[in-house]
């Protein structure tokens, strides 16, 4: 995965934390992620399609999820309930949406987000795509964003042309 494809996601996390959580984040050592790396408690997942395809996974330990969603709403959460799950889904939606807007000339659509809870699972891509892991530190706790992203050869202009030609 190219650096220019990962920077929008790093910028997006920073902007979401600054504007919605009045908090700063620091990215640690980004690296290729093994399929079974880490066992966070909650994962927000959202799919990308269009002129780029991939998946964005926001991996949160429970204390971080409670702190982030609590601060977003201005309420303290003591345990993971439907509001926290809903909030994690919305958070990954905002992060991915904000990132995709930074890919100029691309036409990328988001799926509706999904939230997975538990620790016995494995995120695994089909085919040749790889996961890049972006671990973050923040005053609300540690978390990571994992991105599997591939730009397709078709640009938005080509999509528009294909559409105009009835393809």
């Amino acid at each position: 995965m190219k650096a220019e494809n990962i920077n929008p996601f790093i910028q997006s996390i920073s902007e979401v934390f600054e504007s919605m959580l009045d908090s700063k984040v620091a990215v640690k050592d980004l690296h290729l992620s093994a399929a079974d790396e880490g066992h966070p408690d909650i994962i927000g997942l959202i799919g990308l399609s269009g002129t780029a395809k991939g998946i964005v996974a926001l991996k949160l330990p429970v204390p971080t999820a409670l702190a982030i969603i609590g601060k977003m709403v201005g309420t303290g959460f003591k345990s993971v309930d439907s509001s926290v799950i809903d909030g994690v889904g919305e958070l990954v939606n905002i992060v991915a949406g904000n990132a995709k807007a930074k890919f100029e000339g691309q036409s990328i659509s988001l799926s509706l987000p999904t939230v997975v809870r538990g620790s016995i699972y494995r995120l695994q891509n089909l085919g040749e795509m790889v996961w890049l892991s972006l671990p973050f530190e923040s005053e609300l706790g540690e978390f990571s964003l994992e991105v599997s992203f591939k730009q397709m050869s078709t640009t938005k202009q080509e999509v528009a042309h294909a559409s105009a030609c009835g393809r």
Partner: protein
């Protein structure tokens, strides 16, 4: 002033309603998708402003706006969405949205957008 907040995320509805409360607006309604929003707007003519998400199950925000305008309901609608690309903004405005606010936003951003809306309504 009554504001209808439409978003499939209950957390986002709470965040937006909280920002409205801080801006002095306590009369709010909420809906989880476009279909429910249209039902409310068809039954009530008391809503002064709609804050509408784009991506929602059952009926998206853009589909809802087109239907609302097709029903000749003239309530002002501000899109509040992650869809920040220029083409999306143009599509929303052409479909009948009056204004646009991109997520992520701060409570202050919502308040500024409301102040702008109230000022234009007062003219």
């Amino acid at each position: 002033m009554q504001v209808l907040v439409v978003d499939d995320s209950q957390i986002m509805r709470r965040i937006v309603i909280g920002a409205l409360n801080k801006a002095g607006i306590s009369d709010t309604l909420d809906a989880p998708d476009g279909r429910e929003a249209i039902k409310i707007l068809s039954e009530k003519n008391t809503v002064n402003l709609v804050l509408m998400d784009w991506n929602m199950p059952n009926m998206t925000g853009i589909e809802a706006i087109r239907e609302i305008r097709a029903k000749n309901i003239k309530v002002p609608i501000i899109m509040v969405t992650t869809e920040g690309e220029k083409e999306k903004v143009i599509e929303a405005i052409k479909s009948g949205a009056n204004d646009y606010l991109v997520k992520p936003f701060s409570p202050k951003d919502i308040q500024l957008k409301l102040e702008k809306f109230l000022k234009s309504e007062g003219q």
